[in-house]
Symmetry: C2
Subunit: 211 residues, 2 copies
């Protein structure tokens, strides 16, 4: 996007700084040590991460909270909205479809799709749920490039292919499979069960620290 050189590792931590800053009781300035303490990171790491996006840090006082939030939002691209659709309107899909916290991260969920005729209609918050046959038409019409895949594992491959055919270029996959996608399509797998298991393991091994 811009020429700033930010490491992958840093990029993954930036959202957590923003989330923290948004929820912490307001104070005009905040120090790297305070952020680090709360998030279980080193203060030097925090300074280095923030230096790559903000430059509003000042000796003795720390960072101006509101400027830092604005800079993070700017850098992370949360100021211009991206649209996405949900494919698979089971319980998880519906929860995501109606979740109202996406706008804080620059995302908007436009509509849901499901193969089951009974699901077609509108969600609790009034979002459209359409049959999967309409996916291609809809994504073309509204230029949707991002899809959230929430179908059962046995349907995941087929659903994934339909999304690709519909012109979707990035897929957030909640099915516990690794659907193969053609070149140029980004798939990010989110496996809640595996994350929970990892947590259980960390605990068993006494790896005490925030992850």
């Amino acid at each position: 996007m811009n020429g700033k050189q930010v490491s992958k590792a840093t990029l993954q931590r930036l959202p957590s700084y923003l989330t923290y800053l948004r929820t912490v009781p307001y104070r005009e300035n905040i120090s790297s040590a305070a952020i680090a303490g709360e998030l279980g990171l080193g203060e030097i790491q925090v300074r280095k991460d923030l230096a790559s996006v903000s430059g509003c840090g000042r000796p003795k006082t720390g960072y101006r909270t509101d400027k830092l939030i604005a800079d993070l939002e700017e850098f992370l691209g949360y100021k211009n909205i991206d649209n996405a659709v949900v494919v698979g309107c089971g319980r998880l899909g519906m929860a995501i479809l109606d979740y109202n916290g996406f706008s804080e991260y620059g995302m908007n969920i436009e509509a849901g799709f499901d193969a089951d005729e009974d699901k077609v209609g509108v969600s609790q918050t009034g979002k459209e749920i359409l049959p999967t046959e309409k996916l291609e038409e809809y994504c073309g019409k509204y230029d949707i490039k991002i899809g959230i895949l929430c179908v059962p594992p046995e349907c995941a491959f087929q659903a994934c292919r339909m999304m690709v055919d519909a012109g979707i270029k990035a897929i957030l996959n909640f099915a516990p499979v690794c659907p193969s996608a053609p070149e140029g399509i980004i798939v990010k797998n989110v496996n809640i069960a595996a994350q929970l298991a990892q947590l259980a393991n960390s605990m068993a091994n006494r790896e005490y620290s925030e992850i």
Copy 2:
């Protein structure tokens, strides 16, 4: 747990190998190159990762699929079941409570808790939903050490404290906040909106590859 020296990075990839092996059409043997190709990794990396847990690789043929799956399950601790509870039975909490894929990862969701009296009862699949006042008693009685936090952000801090008071030592947090927990408690934050935003960004920057 055991003395094997496995890097953090490797540990994070191991579950994805297992998920892939479980869903790929069965074949007796599989090569590192095949796994790497499907998961978008380097084959050397795959070999190195697998070497730390299995040692069933053989020249010319690759790895014995079933042995590899068994070794991964063993290593990741998916063979002995850990129990967990869900705190906050909104739509996401309910979806997790009734999701049937946890056993594959050695996890079992025992019950749900909610502050809202109307939610108390049983879930669609028959799991108990109890009032939050019962959390401490329940966790003590059944020795529950793992909790999944699915409450709205404004309740997260309070709910987190209740969980800690109830003896929970590891929290998988879906609320978009960073609840501070005392020493010895592991908190793993899962922010779906932030992950979606990151995906949108990767796409915008043409970083084509599976994440």
